[in-house]
């Protein structure tokens, strides 16, 4: 299958722009550390008022393509807002029971670093969330999150490691992998921008550190990686072969961006408050999930 264009449709473009606007109004573009450990700056209400949780639903063959969802996930990934928008979009896309729910819905996903039969439930710690049991597969219900251990490695994802599991079709699994990778690539884009701003502002030896060739090259390499990450998620979204490989490649390139940008920040980059690590955590978490999906569904 060859795509006629690498660009998203209007629905993807408009939705991603609107989501970006909504987030920047809610956060006032404040740094991530200001909301990482507290209340979400955005309410679930404003997401559902905008109908953004339903943007993935396909009716009569009409709706957002995976390529459109990539654009949306990338926009969402720029802010790591601690709300389950992406799992809800994907649950509602692939489950009638999820569509019948007003509030947020999540998914229990096999993850590569859990061999004890548990799955990772993104945002499973949130009070009012339910889990879809089947995405175009198995029984289609929603159930509450069973007791499990909190896994706060990706702090903004409020995840739970629980003995439950969402059945999913191969294509739902692939879509999920692509969306997580797209989110990570959006985080990479945001970090690259932060790195550029920092390199222009921070001065050492009487000039901006961005004027040193070593720093320039780091950021040029970060751009190369961020572009490749984007290209890889687009590729994964538009064809069906080796989707997980493309998604993992995109995540690895995104992690490389995170590492380079952290290095450019010097000592500040190593601090909790600077907040670069929140994005890196998201990327590393995405890697665990997509690896898990890949080993379950990727055996080509």
């Amino acid at each position: 299958m060859s795509a006629s264009t690498t660009l998203p449709d209007e629905i993807g473009l408009l939705a991603s722009e609107s989501i970006r606007d909504m987030v920047s109004r809610a956060t006032d573009n404040a740094p991530i550390a200001t909301y990482a450990e507290g209340e979400s700056p955005l309410s679930w209400q404003s997401i559902s008022d905008g109908g953004w949780d339903q943007i993935g639903i396909i009716e009569d063959g009409e709706g957002a393509s995976l390529r459109d969802l990539v654009e949306i996930a990338r926009a969402w990934g720029e802010s790591c807002i601690p709300l389950p928008l992406l799992p809800t979009i994907m649950a509602k896309r692939h489950s009638a029971a999820a569509r019948a729910v007003d509030g947020p819905v999540t998914i229990a996903i096999p993850s590569a670093t859990r061999t004890d039969g548990t799955c990772f439930v993104p945002y499973g710690q949130l009070g009012d969330i339910v889990v879809a049991t089947g995405l175009d597969a198995g029984t289609d219900c929603v159930v509450p999150v069973t007791d499990g251990l909190a896994d706060d490695f990706d702090i903004l994802m409020h995840g739970v490691q629980a003995h439950m599991r969402t059945d999913m079709s191969m294509s739902a699994a692939r879509e999920l992998g692509v969306v997580f990778a797209a989110e990570a690539s959006g985080a990479a884009k945001k970090l690259l921008n932060d790195g550029i701003v920092f390199a222009k502002e921070r001065e050492q030896f009487g000039k901006p550190i961005g004027s040193f060739q070593a720093v320039k090259h780091h950021l040029a390499n970060a751009l190369i990686n961020a572009e490749l990450a984007e290209t890889a998620v687009i590729w994964s979204s538009l064809q069906e072969h080796e989707v997980f490989r493309g998604a993992l490649f995109a995540i690895d390139r995104s992690i490389a961006v995170g590492e380079l940008v952290l290095q450019v920040h010097g000592g500040l980059g190593f601090t909790w408050e600077m907040g670069l690590h929140f994005y890196l955590r998201r990327m590393l978490g995405a890697r665990e999930l997509v690896s898990g999906l890949s080993s379950e569904f990727g055996g080509v």
Binding site: T113, R114, T115, F153, A214, E259, Q263, W272, L276
Partner: protein, 391 residues
């Protein structure tokens, strides 16, 4: 391939090479090994992860005293100042052995590796007598007050002021990223003595008592969630004239003398052991995974070659020539980037049992290309000072 095959009888190899001292070194190795076996706290060796922060701190503080009692403090420092009068060879061998024995890292590292050599080469007799015994005995902890919010890589740009008053100076300014600040009794600190003097001639090196009014320490949390450094504000903190190292305008040259010291060797030895143990963990847990095979082999050989690079440095130490400069100059870049590559593979290998270990190591390893001179600055130094390329 197991790591054992490559590593062999490791400590003896690290110190091999020179026939004259070979026997001494072996004897040293044997006694160090025996002493470590007796003295490394079992709680720390076997249950490190389960200890509270307070317990760990207590063990680390006490370790400096144990080292002293055992005769292993200040191995490379002269005997007349309470050291053991040995060389880099023994320092390196001891660090490797201590790492293998899972010995704690004391709080005395900054003092023994930086302050003691600084005082011995540039300090007054009074300063040596006042500070060296308690550095070696592990009774006093030091921190390094160099970096400031606006002066990191550009260390000569420190803005902290030292204003002359009767009998001494008043220090005012902010230091940041100060490791051990929370535990420190003293700080050795760069401050401007004469803002009008030219760059490199305007700084003094001060020995500051941290337990006095005007010193205020705020924790800084790191990306791993741990708190291992702090911001330290000094407000009119008094330092007597007797506590300047060198002349009031000598701070920069005093600092450079210790920074270009061979501390690279001992630090590398300690790091080598940690890297080796991380690589071994990878080989054990995923050595049989074909998709990782070439990557693991590469990391394994790089780790082994790090040890050989260190052996080369040790063997070249005596002539201190070009070959030594070249060999030693690359150590920091070599081990820091190796460790980062190891932890990246660790976290991507997705071994369930080691998940928390790699998550922690991955974040910790981000620091090593930043501290003690970022790797960009290291490469500037290598290209300009070692290779003589134009600035």
């Amino acid at each position: 391939m197991t790591s054992e095959q490559l590593v062999g009888e490791l400590p003896a190899d690290v110190v091999s090479g020179d026939d004259d001292t070979g026997d001494d070194a072996d004897e040293f190795t044997r006694s160090a090994e025996a002493w470590l076996k007796e003295n490394v706290p079992a709680r720390y060796r076997d249950h490190r992860g389960a200890l509270s922060n307070e317990e760990t701190d207590e063990i680390r503080r006490n370790w400096d005293r144990q080292l002293h009692q055992g005769g292993f403090a200040g191995l490379g420092l002269p005997r007349e100042w309470g050291g053991q009068g040995l060389g880099l060879r023994e320092e390196v061998a001891f660090h490797v052995l201590a790492g293998k024995a899972k010995a704690p890292d004391g709080f005395g590292r900054v003092a023994k590796v930086l302050v003691a050599p600084m005082l011995i080469t540039s300090g007054t007799e009074e300063q040596k007598a006042k500070y060296l015994p308690k550095i070696l005995s592990g009774d006093e902890v030091w921190c390094q007050g160099f970096s400031e919010p606006s002066a990191g890589s550009d260390l000569a740009g420190v803005k902290t002021r030292a204003v002359k008053v009767d009998g001494g100076y008043l220090i005012t300014g902010r230091k940041t990223w100060t490791s051990f600040a929370q535990h420190a009794d003293y700080c050795f600190l760069l401050a401007q003595t004469d803002p009008a003097a030219p760059r490199y001639k305007n700084l003094g090196m001060f020995l500051v008592d941290m337990k006095q009014p005007g010193v205020s320490i705020s924790d800084i949390k790191q990306i791993s969630g741990a708190i291992h450094f702090a911001e330290v504000a000094f407000t009119k903190v008094f330092v007597s004239d007797g506590d300047i190292v060198g002349e009031p305008g000598d701070g920069w040259s005093v600092a450079m003398r210790i920074l270009t010291d061979e501390r690279g060797g001992t630090e590398t030895a300690a790091r080598y052991v940690e890297i080796r143990s991380d690589v071994d963990l990878l080989l054990e847990s995923c050595g049989d995974r074909p998709e990782l095979a070439s990557e693991l082999q590469e990391l394994d050989i790089r780790t082994e070659l790090l040890r050989w690079q260190l052996s080369k440095v040790v063997d070249l130490e005596d002539d201190m020539g070009d070959a030594f400069q070249r060999a030693v100059s690359i150590l920091k870049v070599l081990w820091s980037e190796l460790w980062q590559d190891v932890t990246r593979v660790g976290i991507k290998a997705m071994v369930a049992a080691d998940r928390e270990h790699w998550r922690y190591q991955y974040f910790e390893s981000r620091a090593v290309s930043i501290y003690s001179g970022t790797n960009e600055i290291q490469r500037n130094i290598i290209s300009e000072r070692v290779l003589g390329l134009p600035r």
